[in-house]
Amino acid sequence: MNTLFDKIWDAHVVQHVEGGLDQLYIDRLYCHEVTSPQAFDGLRARGIGCFRPDRIFCMPDHNTPTEGQDKPIEDPVSKKQVDALAANAAEFGLTHFGMNDPDNGIIHVVGPEKALSLPGMTIVCGDSHTSTHGAVGAVAFGIGTSEVEMVLASQCILQQKPKSMRIRIEGELGKCVTAKDMALFLMSKLTTSGATGYFVEYAGSAVRSLSMEGRLTLCNLSIEMGARGGFIAPDETTFAYLKGREYAPKGAEWDKAVEAWKQLKSEDDAVFDREIVFDAAEIAPMITYGTNPGMGMAVNGYIPTLDDIPSEGCQSFCKSLKYMGFRPGEMLLGKPVDYVFLGACTNGRIEDFRAFASIAAGRHKAPGIVAWLVPGSWKVRRQIEEEGLDKILEAAGFEIRQPGCSACLAMNPDKIPAGKYCVSTSNRNFEGRQGPGSRTLLASPLTAAAAAVTGFITDPRLLP
């Protein structure tokens, strides 16, 4: 066993349990307010505390409003859930970055940016997008609330070891093709269940060329192919990103850590259960037309026709297009858009705001478009201001909101109304995901910005 996945996983096995499960030691548990309260209740019911409180970090992100965070949350049910996390963290002695705290933000943005997530770690959270943290070279995956309770109680969970898959993307990415497009392209090829049962290692020159922000986006979307997680072996890009960050090792400890992290790679003769290679030149700026993230195509492409769909999938395909208000075989370019959302754990980082601003600069938000630009953390928002991106965006008619998950899943007040179309940089276009009846088209920050300044679906490559 000589894949990087094997190395990290096997080093964390406390014992093999009869029946084929591994008792896996967890280095880092993140808790947000939605999937943790019942786990803390479970500890209280059993009369036990947290086994290793120093390995656990809590922050609310799903319910937080994106304006007026200095005031109490208006929705009493949301407020109760956010308050419960603060109370549970205090009761069990856990670090908590509360709403409006300068350290707060979306858990999957804050973890890497504070270097709480480090190479070689096992990382879990009651959230499927925990795969994001794989970008630093960690084995990171989402779990359910019962499993959160297991980690709170014992710092371990019982898991069947997934199979390993390597996806290599070789070559140079084309104009306006981002990490988001790479991920949407992979999902369109593999479907939303194509990597179920696997842990994915992303490799190849196009992956290596990505910045840390791009890598976080790519790994974030691993779950949308069904993979439990996805990661990238740490390299100089990783070390340069982590160095000097708050929780990164310092001084001689840093040098020692980097030496160890340099061993974190799959051996040349490593055997994967499945290996797939794609040519980066095949990837175009992507957009989704349906109600799962695998229903994607080039932004200038055509929706499949019924002839392209296997018979057992026709009922789901037709239901999906009916929901979206699209017809088989039609083009999306030029279709009017109502809302644009930039943000989420997928695309709420500084590079995403730079990309959006690069299109918005010198242009203006189209009339009738409602645009929500939501940084992934307060740190991202501060950096937007330091770089002057806020001025560029304001001049183009956009405003920057306060951080949180926001319209990605609309648990806060940011909801897309029924029937409206939203070009969104988030991760899921499921029915009702952005609010009951909402219609989501997933795309990159560049494609979202192109829609925001034109008012319709636009190929960002064609904007002069």
């Binding site: 406390v14 029946g19 999937t35 009651g126 019962s146 899943l409």
Partner: protein, 196 residues
Amino acid sequence: MKQKFDIIESTCVPLPLENVDTDQIIPARFLKATTRDERFFGENLFRDWRYRPDGTLVRDFVLNDPRYGGEILVAGRNFGSGSSREHAAWAIAGYGFKVVISSFFADIHKNNELNNFVLPVVVTPEFLEELFSSIAADPATKVRVDVPAQTVTNLATGRSESFELNAYKKYCLVNALDDIDYLLLQKEKIEAYEKK
């Protein structure tokens, strides 16, 4: 809810759609509860497919069709994809399902079902297709799931298959034990691991 599993024989509720995601099983706005009240989640299972925005029933959705009922949900492939929300498993359990039959499950949801004493049974695509046909021909079609023997049988046609179930998880289901009971007994081993 912790319960002991043995043999389950029941009529089924058919949902022949693929890629049913957990946002459909329980929409995000119902995730704000801070307690594990399975009845609340069960009442909101497939909420936006069962009810229109004004609260009226969608008559042709299968949960509203009086011909169908029982403790077994039969779903198209890739059931439970998307969000890790365990609330989806709580909703399925809270509605009264003990077993979900499909040809393919998403990983996290499958674990969540097992951790909530809902048994995910993976069958071949042929078995699934035949079962959908049997139920369509006769909604009173029953399925028998024998957990100790790990077999699933379509009683309308007699077609039977064995299904996979991890030996440890089977022990938990048959004896109504959960992983935390097990892990709490492993403290010494965990501390020894930490010292390595």
